[in-house]
Symmetry: none
Subunit: 420 residues, 2 copies
């Protein structure tokens, strides 16, 4: 079962707004087992609207169109669809009554523009828009469904949930579709692909895999499609378990999880506290941690030690260590982590020092060289990384890598706890 | 001149990610006087890719395709376009060399997947992707242009700016179109619109205004279109000057400027240093400052004082002040700013303390209440703000507002300096 989503209007075509409606609708239809064939944004020229309806009608079972139903004169959708469906506009008394009821309390009297909104194509079933003046329209034509909705997000969402989805369920019987996203860190896309090649080859036809890389991490999305939900759930669980046996250290979460959120959860559930000492990451680790509501219960604070003076004064790094090894060194990273833990009196600490670039690199320590250290009650580890020559990406990757190092340390603790 | 933008891949079709690439590309092409006819997202099925190329080639002069060029096996774009353009894949030695140079320093050895990325269609002109492994591809076929770009946003943006736009300018002669973007901070879109209404009415037909709101600020884009570049430049300058007379305090920069970058420039050119003390912004001010290359010359460091213990210990905030006024108060914000300036020995400091939410609000201090303080050699100012009930937005708006407060303070200094 395929569907198309079409948005009418110029705001998206000139890049003034980003189309978030379509992603929301796609998720909703997917959850009903409906596959989205194509998402398009088009202008409100009648010929363009008619051509888009024509093409979609040939290729998909459902066409969902948003926008182009407002009260102003740039909306030419209704005329175009009368041409396409060979019908005419008639005044709908229920819609007119609803518009009057909506506008009168706001002190707005019905003008000709509002009155035009009560005109609906004779062939259409009206979808009652409780939250706005433009009604939704439902056409059933030669076994295909066309649904027109206003573009205002909260009106559109309300109509999808309460009018469109229940009708779609009645008309079509749809298969089961499930998605799981596995979040990985620390492997480039190509290395990851090589490591899990045999696992990927073992996937049955009912499971599809997609790689979704971003500057932060590589996500793997598994899509299961079939008739029996229980079987699909088991299949997904089984394959995710097998994947964990291959790359356990690199999987930090699933679906909507974030690295900082998951590290926070482990700290919280173990009653542990954290501080950070950041040089090259410049406050970004603290920022990622504090994006999570409730982070104040485990994150006590951080020192952004951008200058050596601050490293010495607030983190008590021995100035000789800096003079002998340079600020970007294992010795300084470890001293920073120890210093943060003591200064802020926490169980664990993370420290970063590196060359984010574009300047400051040498042959021995090129731009992208980062030392990360983790200090804990009975732990002091440090590791060197080399990231790409791009300041913003290096900051993000250093942040995620540092949080993952702490996560792996904390997991050892949990395993030890369980062994006792 | 019409263009189509097509995105290949399932992530958008299943609603997992919102298509922000297309809006960015649309803005860029608009700036060149190119009209966007249609924006589409399609699956990576070869038949669908070929059908989309066919349709776009019939209706537009330029087709810009992103996505579907990664190293893993879910990318079937290159095969599809070989079919469409009747060509074959050949190994490109320059691309292979570039991939090797990118991956070797990261300790990644070239595998068969990376090697496949060096295969390019024989008919294509390779667009060198300095930031990633997948090259861009440019086809010129029967007077139509087709451009394929990787979907990773920073790689795609770099290729558009440095490879695509210059070539498009050579191939098509377009009218003179100039854009200036005016960056404002501190006024909601509707308030701003009201304040500048008469100015907006005064704009001649050759100038078009667009409001581009974002969580960080409201940008105003002026587009000038005509035959004579000199006249358009003068017109833009004159209108921007007039706008400055209306909302000088709210204009913090132009075009690609950032608030943190501009604050940094003022500090740098005056030989001044800065430190920060962050509670509710959780390190984000330090992060925004350190995103700028060279920030180490004026930004010495920060203390993320998330717990009261850190406020007292490292920022020397009197615990009685916290007990009497609460951590979110004018007194504590000012004490934090003074403490940061002293602890890190800087000319200026910024402090934030607030309730980012979703919990912790009271009737007197609802979620979104933020105190910001600025301390300097002969300055101590503080101000209360109430932002929306959304954690991430409140963090971003507090960050930008705090930096703008410092900017306005620093500008007074510059004016005083000039008066002497």
């Amino acid at each position: 079962m395929d569907a198309d989503i079409i948005t009418i209007g110029d705001e998206i075509l000139i890049g003034q707004i980003v189309d978030t409606n379509s992603a929301w609708i796609a998720q909703k239809l997917n959850a009903e087992g409906i596959n989205i064939r194509q998402i398009s944004s088009i202008s409100d020229h009648p010929e363009h609207i008619i051509a888009a309806l024509q093409e979609s009608g040939e290729k998909s079972s459902i066409t969902l169109i948003t926008g182009g139903l407002g009260p102003t004169r740039d909306d030419r959708t209704k005329t175009a669809l009368c041409t396409y469906f060979k019908t005419k506009l008639i005044e709908n008394s229920e819609v007119l009554e609803h518009i009057t009821q909506l506008l009168t309390p706001r002190g707005i009297s019905i003008n000709s523009l509002n009155r035009e909104q009560a005109l609906v194509p004779e062939k259409a079933t009206v979808l009652h828009n409780t939250l706005g003046t433009a009604p939704g329209l439902w056409f059933s034509e030669k076994g295909k469904i066309y649904v027109f909705l206003p573009g205002v997000p909260f009106e559109m969402k309300n109509l999808i949930d309460n009018e469109v989805i229940p009708r779609v369920r009645k008309v079509f019987s749809t298969p089961v579709i499930l998605h799981r996203t596995i979040l990985t860190q620390g492997l480039a896309e190509s290395t990851l692909a090589e490591k899990i090649e045999s696992w990927e080859d073992s996937l049955p036809e009912s499971l599809k895999l997609a790689y979704l890389p971003s500057p932060q991490n590589v996500r793997l999305r598994l899509t299961a499609r079939g008739e029996n939900e229980e079987i699909l759930v088991q299949l997904l669980e089984q394959k995710i378990k097998a994947l964990n046996e291959l790359i356990a250290e690199n999987i930090f979460g699933y679906d909507e999880d974030t690295m900082a959120g998951n590290v926070g959860n482990i700290l919280y559930s173990n009653g542990l506290t954290l501080s950070v000492a950041e040089s090259c990451t410049g406050g970004n680790i603290a920022h990622f941690l504090t994006l999570n509501p409730g982070s104040s219960s485990y994150f006590k604070g951080g020192i952004v030690a951008y200058s050596n003076e601050v490293k010495v004064k607030l983190l008590k790094v021995d100035p000789h260590l800096i003079a002998e090894n340079g600020a970007v060194s294992q010795e300084v990273a470890e001293a920073m982590a120890i210093g943060a833990r003591q200064a802020m009196n926490t169980d664990y600490s993370i420290a970063t020092t590196g060359i984010a670039g574009p300047d400051g690199g040498t042959i021995e320590k090129p731009v992208g060289t980062i030392w990360i250290a983790i200090a804990g009650p009975s732990t002091l580890i440090s590791k060197r990384f080399t990231f790409a020559n791009n300041r913003e990406r290096t900051i993000i990757r250093s942040t995620q890598t540092a949080l993952n190092l702490l996560r792996l340390e904390l997991l050892k603790l949990t395993i030890k706890g369980k062994e006792k």
